[in-house]
């Protein structure tokens, strides 16, 4: 019996000719998926490719317009997630669904609690969880509370939840988006172990290096269509990305240019915040002309607050900040911006736009005061509209009409619009916080190119991002932020992911 025949025998799940329409839009257009026992299948594609819709269909959250699901040879009609769970299909959610004040065991047994007479048998729950934890080599203390747990452990609880439900098919939805490199490595190892233990795994992702490392096969989707099924052994990152995007991405080497004088200088910045541990703890840094400086770090280590202090959204306690030699410490946002600072904020709705405003209004925010666009408080509406239309066209924001509400844009498109607006401020300093959060690979590449272009024009860019690949790709210099402090610095030449991850977790460079 050849290898091929053996595999055929072990098909556990088939999705056949799945079609799903949302109105006139085909989110899934005749998709076929085959999953074998004990294999890791990567479903890859850009945002909007239809991966999530397909997985929601498999998990009973969406109902296909047509097509069928066959599980172990039997057709399956799923009406709810609970039904999927009872058929052994589990999903590790991207956004954790945990109860913070409850213990690990309580979270895991939730919905299928062991009982002793009338009462919840917490002892049995703890024992079961401890046994599972041992069986799958996923160390967890059943009686720990979720509160205060690092993201990696929380995800482990989510995985255990699925295992406790006795799932044979486990779907991971973008599982590495929020993890540090060390945690990613742990997770990939866990997935391999689970596959070895006979579980069949589907991982939705667009991170191709992880796909190459962990998956056996990949299914590529693009714009709702099934593009290809490939064995990982026979493919490469380049081929996969070409299939995903539909064109070849040019892997440009970014030429380094000599850094000029400092644009941004931060000296001994201190912000206490509400707690007893300072949020920003005597932080000093600088960004020079012709430089992209990245700030890497696990979110919640003071990066957000730093960006807010820099733009004047939040007051710091002491220190000094200068831009182009001018003091902007604790100045008002308008003064700071007029000194020459623009910012792509990390939360596109909280700080970056008004959902209820039109797209053209969002595009003109911060620009309308220019003498060419308004005079004596009267807006030149036509010019402004042209200006907005140009931004939308240039950055490829997908919309029918710029008079629609900003909230009507998809997250990725709203992000593009805000990035366009801030990059086109043409300020000496751009602070880019998570500039490509939620945008697809094509748009990401475009925004990255604009950032590099800005730098090459002799401006300074401060890049704050939790995406390590983004930081490593773009930055000429990298600061690692941990606990409100700079915990190490790299240059493009001497950076590697290993060291970066270590410093992000609070370790020290040898």
């Amino acid at each position: 019996m050849s290898e091929q025949d053996k595999k055929e025998k072990n098909i556990i799940l088939q999705m056949k000719h799945i079609v799903k329409y949302y109105g006139a839009l085909a989110a899934n257009d005749d998709i076929n998926l085959t999953l074998h026992e004990g294999e890791i299948l990567a479903v890859i594609g850009e945002n909007g490719a239809g991966k999530t819709t397909l997985m929601k269909t498999l998990y009973g959250l969406e109902h296909p317009t047509s097509g069928e699901i066959v599980l172990r040879g039997e057709p399956l009609h799923l009406k709810s997630a609970a039904q999927a769970i009872s058929h052994g299909i589990g999903m590790v959610q991207q956004h954790f669904m945990l109860f913070d004040p409850f213990t690990v065991a309580e979270n895991i047994v939730y919905g299928r609690e062991p009982k002793k007479g009338l009462f919840f048998d917490i002892k049995a729950a703890n024992e079961t969880v401890a046994a599972l934890s041992k069986q799958y080599e996923l160390p967890l203390n059943p009686t720990d509370r979720i509160e205060g747990m690092p993201v990696g452990l929380r995800q482990r609880v989510e995985i255990m939840k699925v295992l406790y439900q006795n799932a044979d098919i486990i779907i991971f939805d973008e599982p590495t988006a929020v993890l540090t490199p060390q945690e990613v490595r742990e997770l990939l190892k866990t997935m391999k172990n689970l596959a070895k233990a006979g579980k069949s795994i589907i991982i939705i992702t667009h991170k191709l290096n992880e796909v190459m490392e962990v998956a056996d096969r990949a299914m590529v989707m693009r714009m709702g269509k099934h593009i290809a099924d490939v064995d990982i052994a026979d493919t490469s990152i380049e081929e996969l990305s070409m299939m995903m995007v539909g064109r070849k991405l040019i892997d440009k080497t970014i030429e380094t240019i000599p850094a000029g004088e400092d644009v941004l200088k931060v000296d001994d910045l201190f912000l206490q915040g509400g707690g007893s541990v300072p949020i920003i703890d005597h932080l000093s840094m600088h960004v020079a002309k012709g430089e992209i400086v990245g700030i890497a770090g696990v979110s919640g280590n003071g990066q957000s607050e730093l960006s807010q202090v820099l733009l004047g959204l939040r007051r710091a306690d002491s220190g000094s900040i200068t831009v182009c030699g001018q003091d902007i410490f604790n100045k008002k946002v308008r003064q700071v911006r007029e000194t020459g600072v623009a910012m792509i904020p990390e939360d596109r709705y909280l700080w970056g736009s008004a959902r209820e405003a039109t797209i053209s209004e969002t595009a003109m925010m911060g620009h309308y005061r220019r003498p060419t666009l308004s005079k004596n408080g009267i807006l030149y509406t036509k010019k402004l509209r042209n200006f907005a239309q140009n931004l939308v066209d240039e950055f490829g924001v997908k919309t029918d009409n710029i008079q629609l509400k900003t909230g009507s844009l998809s997250g990725g498109n709203a992000q593009k619009l805000i990035a366009a607006r801030e990059i086109r401020q043409h300020t000496p300093l751009l602070i880019a916080c998570e500039p490509t959060r939620g945008v697809d690979i094509g748009a990401m590449e475009f925004i990255h190119d604009r950032l590099i272009e800005k730098r090459s024009n002799g401006d300074a860019v401060l890049l704050i991002s939790s995406e390590l690949t983004e930081i490593m790709k773009l930055s000429d210099r990298i600061y690692v932020m941990y606990d409100g402090k700079i915990n190490g610095e790299f240059t493009r030449e001497n950076v590697n992911e290993e060291d970066l991850g270590l410093l992000m977790m609070g370790g020290k460079k040898e």
Partner: protein, 306 residues
Amino acid sequence: MNIDANYLAVVFNSTIRMTTPILFVALGSALCNRVFIFNIGLEGMMLTGAFAAIVANFYTHSVLASIVAAMVASMLVAWVAGIFMVKFKGAMLVVGVSINTLMGGLTTFLMQLVFHVQGAYVSSDLVSLPKINVNFLGNSHVLKTMFGSLTWLDLFAFVAAILLYFHLFRTVTGFRMRSVGINKPAAESLGIKADRIQILTVVFSGLLSGLGGCLLSMGGVTMFAQNMTAGRGFIAMAAATLGAANPLGVVVSSAFFGFAQSMANMLQNSSISSQLTMALPYFATVVALAIFNYVKIRNKRRQLSA
């Protein structure tokens, strides 16, 4: 006014009688808090219970029928409130205030319709809740004063607190109730019908409020007076908060307010102006909540600095 054992026994007894109506409602409020429902309509539900009890009493002269009527009427009102708050996602504050206003008006109107009186209805035809016979306590006068003239419903308030404590923290349904209050989407993602749990909890809080109302109108002097709850529903909400939504904690905080209420009543006989003494329970509520929040904030700060 000389303070002796007998006087203290009277204060103790009056405190219990003032506590139990609040306790019932506070337990309901605590349960609502646990499922993340801010049920401000408890005042109206309690009033409904007090009224329905007297109406049933008027027609049937049966204690049991009165209690059942109080529970059912309040549950119906609570069910409406629950549907509006959970299913139609109405603003909880608005729904609650509407319930209070509506029931305040409706009971006054129906009182005139049913009893043909204004302000208050008292009649010797009405039956009271049966009192617990305290003869088993022996000959001690003090003990008899302490526990005299209490009804079985008073006793049940404390039993209910204990039962609810076990339900909330030891049973699976209690566990799921708490989980809905902590993270509703997560509960739903695991196939729990969170909306239903929330509505049922509101309905159950209505049942408890009905009992509280019944105790109010039939526990001491059996009567119904216009707006006779007089803010007890709100005091109960404060008690639920002070008791950290823990049924046993709620017993303590309710007792505190019961004590304040009983002091207010006792001081009416003193030279202090009665307007001032009647304000005591409400004043105590404000002070207690302020202190509670101060301590909570301070502890949080300490926790952060630890």
